[in-house]
Each structure stands twice: as C-alpha cells, then as structure tokens.
C-alpha cells in the first residue's frame, strides 16, 4: 500500500518536472519556436482545407454512387422469352447487384411526371408509345458501372445502354486526381514541418548538452532525458494546430451558412458544421502532435547513443 502511494506521487512529480523543462525551452528558443510553429500552422491549414474538400467530395460521391444505375433499353423486336433470356444473362454478370423491369408504359408515366405540366403533351403517345421496355440494373460497385454497361451492350435484343453519361466517372477521376496532388503536397509540407521541429529541438539539445552529459553521468535513464524534448515537440505541434483550427472553423461555418440554404432540396449536401468541425479539429491536433513528437524523436535519437 505504502509503496504504491509513493510510486504514483513520484510519477506525477517527474511529469511536472518534464513539462516545466519543456515549457522553459519553448520560451527560451524564441524565433526557432516561432518558425517551427509557423511551419506546422501552414502545413495544417493546407491539410485542413484539403480534408474539408475531400470529405465533402467523398460525401457527394457517395450520394451519387447510390444513384448510379444502368438503363438497358430492350429492343422492340424482343418477345417475352427473349426478355427473360436477356434478364438471365445480365444477372449472371458478376458486377450486377440487382435488376428490375420497367415497362414502356411505366417509363412514359415517369417521363410525364418528371416533366410536370409540359409533360401532358406526351399523353398523346399513350396510344402509340415510342419508348422501350427497360431493365434498370444496379452494380455492386459504382466503379464497375462502365464495365458492366459495355458487357450488356453486346447482348442480343439490347437497343441502347444508358448510364451516368460519364459524369460519375469524371467525378471519381477528379476526386482521385485531387487526392493524389493533395497527398504529394501535404507529404512535402509534413516533411518540412518535421524538419523544422527537429531543428528546433536540436537547438534545445545543444543548449542543454552540458546538462544532458551530467544527467547521463549520474545515471539518468534515456527515457528520463528524452521526455522534456518529446513534450517540447508535442507543444510545438499542438500550438501549430490552433490557428488552422480557428481559421478553418470560421471559414467553413461561413461557407456552410452561405451554401446550405442554396443546396436545400438538392440531393447534394455539404457536411454540417457540427460534428464535422470537431472531427477536423481532432484530426489537426492529432497531426500536429504527431509531427511534433516525430520531429523531436528524430533529433533526440542520435544524442542518446551510448
């Protein structure tokens, strides 16, 4: 019992000491602290903007994904048996999730409905419907749409195959491309930030070389020596995350207030400020912390070899 109380007391005391030491060097390093915090800030602003855009695009893509379907127009020459055969053929495709039949009569009704008052003119066609019967095919994976469509196109009694007209593919391509560009940019920035932090910590270490040497002589463990530097990196990273969080939250809230009413009723929506901004803030703090700790690990390592 006794020794347990003593141990926990010791840990808290040690942690306080490490925190105090790390804060001391942050204030002492002045310009280097400022430079590395700024580097983290710039990096995280860009990372944050990138995340905001990517996550919204992803959300739009997901919404559209659920909506992607292939409309297979059946040749008028096909009889009931031919239609059945076609259906079976389509069903055997591995990409296909579901297939539903929509008669030309239903198709016309849908068309009339979607056109509203102007659609009434099409009522004339009810006697002599020019439309085709249609199979509505959904694929398991939205990216398979194109592949499945081209297979179906070659089947008998298919007069025409229609699907997202390339819109979906374009969107996916765009998302993919911007993701890659963003990644390259961000990785470059992350390296810069890590490098600057590790340099700042190196300056601290050099300023404290004497102290570290004595600590090692009297038998301080490497972990004990390392802690203040890890904390210093951590603070630098977290400090660097504050401004990006504030700026992005303000900008996004304004953008949301502006866009959300315009998108009302539209099936495309942007992510609501709450909880999205909390998630982004969490990500940014975490990234700042990782950058900072990583930067200090890099510079401490070589000073602690025996």
């Amino acid at each position: 019992m006794m020794s347990r109380g003593v141990n926990t007391g010791m840990k808290a005391r040690t942690l306080t000491r490490h925190a105090r030491e790390s804060l001391k060097s942050i204030s002492r390093n002045g310009w280097m602290t400022f430079a590395s915090v700024s580097a983290v800030t710039v990096t995280l602003i860009l990372v944050g903007v990138f995340f905001v855009i990517m996550m919204n695009l992803n959300r739009v893509a997901q919404t559209i994904e659920g909506d992607v379907e292939i409309r297979v127009h059946i040749d008028v020459a096909a009889n009931k048996q031919d239609q059945e055969n076609l259906k079976k053929q389509i069903e055997t495709l591995s990409e296909v999730k579901s297939i539903t039949f929509s008669s030309k009569k239903q198709e016309l009704n849908n068309l009339i409905k979607s056109l509203g008052t102007e659609g009434k003119a099409f009522k004339l066609f009810e006697q002599d419907n020019p439309l085709n019967d249609v199979y509505v095919v959904k694929t398991k994976n939205p990216t398979d749409t194109m592949k499945a469509a081209s297979k179906i196109e070659k089947m008998n009694y298919v007069s025409k195959v229609m699907y997202g007209q390339g819109q979906v593919e374009k969107l996916f391509k765009f998302i993919k491309a911007s993701r890659n560009v963003g990644f390259v940019l961000i990785i470059g920035l992350l390296f810069t930030a890590v490098f600057l932090i590790s340099n700042t910590i190196k300056i601290t270490i050099i300023a404290r070389r004497r102290e570290i040497k004595i600590m090692r002589l009297v038998g301080a463990t490497n972990n004990f020596i390392r802690w203040p530097f890890l904390l210093e990196g951590l603070w630098l990273g977290i400090l660097g995350a504050i401004l990006p969080i504030i700026l992005i939250t303000i900008a996004y809230s304004n953008a949301y207030d502006y866009l959300a009413p315009k998108l009302k009723g539209n099936f495309i929506q942007i992510l609501p400020v709450d909880p999205f901004m909390y998630q982004i803030s969490g990500i940014l703090i975490l990234m700042g912390a990782v950058i900072g700790v990583f930067g200090s690990v890099m510079s401490v390592r070589k000073f602690l070899k025996f």
Partner: protein
C-alpha cells in the same frame, strides 16, 4: 572492485591509447594514476565509467563487465559510481544546492531523501553556508567541492577523478585532497589521475604509472616518479 584484463583501446583515428592493461583495484583502495601527458590516463579512466568502450578485453566494475554491458543498463551501472573532472562540470544556472540535488532528481529519488542527503554532502565538503549561491559566485576550490559533493551524493562504491586539482592552486588542491581522503576513509574506492607530484609524494597511496598505454609501475605507497 575494478578489474581489467587484457584491455586495449584504439580510437577510430588509429591512436592506440591503451595497449594491454591488466589491473585489479580492490574495494576501499585509493589509487593515483600518473604518467606523462598523452600516456592514456584519461582513456584508462574513461573506460571505467563506460564513457569509452575498450576495443578488446574485459572490465569488471562492481561485478558488471562493462565492456559488454547493454546500453539500457548503463544508467543503473553509473548510479554506483561518481565522477569528478578538472573543469567541475557544474550547471551555471543552478545554485550549489540545486546542482547537487540535480543528480538525485534525475534518478527520481524521493524529495525528502534528496533534501536530507544534499545537506549531508554539503556538510562533508563544508559548503552548507553557500548552498544558495551560484557556481560563478564561488572560488575554483569551492566549485570543485560542489562537484565532489555531487559525485558522492548517490553514495557510490567508487569515485573516479580525472585531474581534479588540475585547475587549482596548491593550497586549494590540498583542501580537495583532504576531502577525497575523507571519502576514501569512509570506504569508497578512489581512482584519481593526477599530475600533482607533491600530493602523490605526501599523501601516500597506491601509484599506477602509465606510459604509452601500458602500466610501467604499480606500487603500494608509491612515489610520483616524474619531474613535474
């Protein structure tokens, strides 16, 4: 106890500073290490506290072969010995008290124990009244006393000193030597490299003379043996 067997040290630049040393120093001994400049005294001493690693050979210190010790175990090993340098190696921003307490704080000793123990060693080196001063406010001899106090605050079995009086005037050197003698009387092994002829010839102890990385003489109650 310190025991070296067939110890060689070749630095990366090709200099062989220690060239086959066998020696045994028992617990409680006081040993002077003497010899010309560049003979390998500091190298010999640095290997005892694992500042340098021998190229060949075994070095047993307090029952541990530190030629083969795992890096993780070095901190614990060092808590059992104290080291004193010519240039004191005090932290200029800490007071006398803090400099000594530092050695206990970084090995996470209990605050109560630290207070008691620091006052004890300050008393031993006669600096209780200057506990709150900064090193820059002290004379060289006083600074060295602080550094000695720090080296024994862990109650080590061995104290290793590399020319502890090298920067001090003769009179102050005697004060410092008396403190080492006192520490030794209390049972601590002392190994000291020195160029101080007068002291070696007056306060008689075992003398190990090193030349070109080899022990050329090893006498109980020996003489310095060189012109200083």
């Amino acid at each position: 106890m310190i025991e070296m067997q067939e110890v060689f040290k070749k630095y990366p630049n090709g200099v062989t500073a220690v060239n086959g040393i066998d020696v045994r120093i028992n617990q409680g001994e006081f040993v002077y290490v003497v010899g010309p400049s560049g003979a390998g005294k500091s190298t010999f001493i640095k290997m005892m506290y694992r500042e340098e690693v021998p190229t060949l050979g075994t070095i047993m210190v307090n029952g541990v072969n530190i030629a083969k010790i795992k890096p993780k175990k070095i901190p614990l090993f060092r808590r059992n010995l104290g080291v004193v340098f010519q240039d004191f190696k005090l932290l200029p921003t800490l007071t006398v008290y803090e400099n000594i307490a530092f050695a206990l704080e970084v090995i996470e000793a209990q605050p109560k124990f630290i207070k008691k123990r620091v006052m004890e060693v300050l008393d031993l080196v006669n600096l209780k009244h200057k506990a709150r001063m900064l090193p820059t406010e002290l004379s060289g001899g006083e600074q060295q006393r602080v550094s000695i106090a720090r080296s024994i605050v862990n109650s080590p079995k061995v104290v290793i000193a590399d020319e502890p009086t090298g920067n001090l005037d003769p009179e102050t050197s005697w004060e410092i030597m008396n403190i080492f003698d006192e520490i030794n009387t209390r049972g601590t092994t002392v190994v000291m490299a020195t160029h101080n002829k007068e002291i070696v010839n007056t306060i008689k102890h075992r003398v190990i003379a090193i030349e070109s990385g080899k022990i050329v003489r090893d006498e109980q109650r020996g003489e310095y043996g060189y012109e200083s």
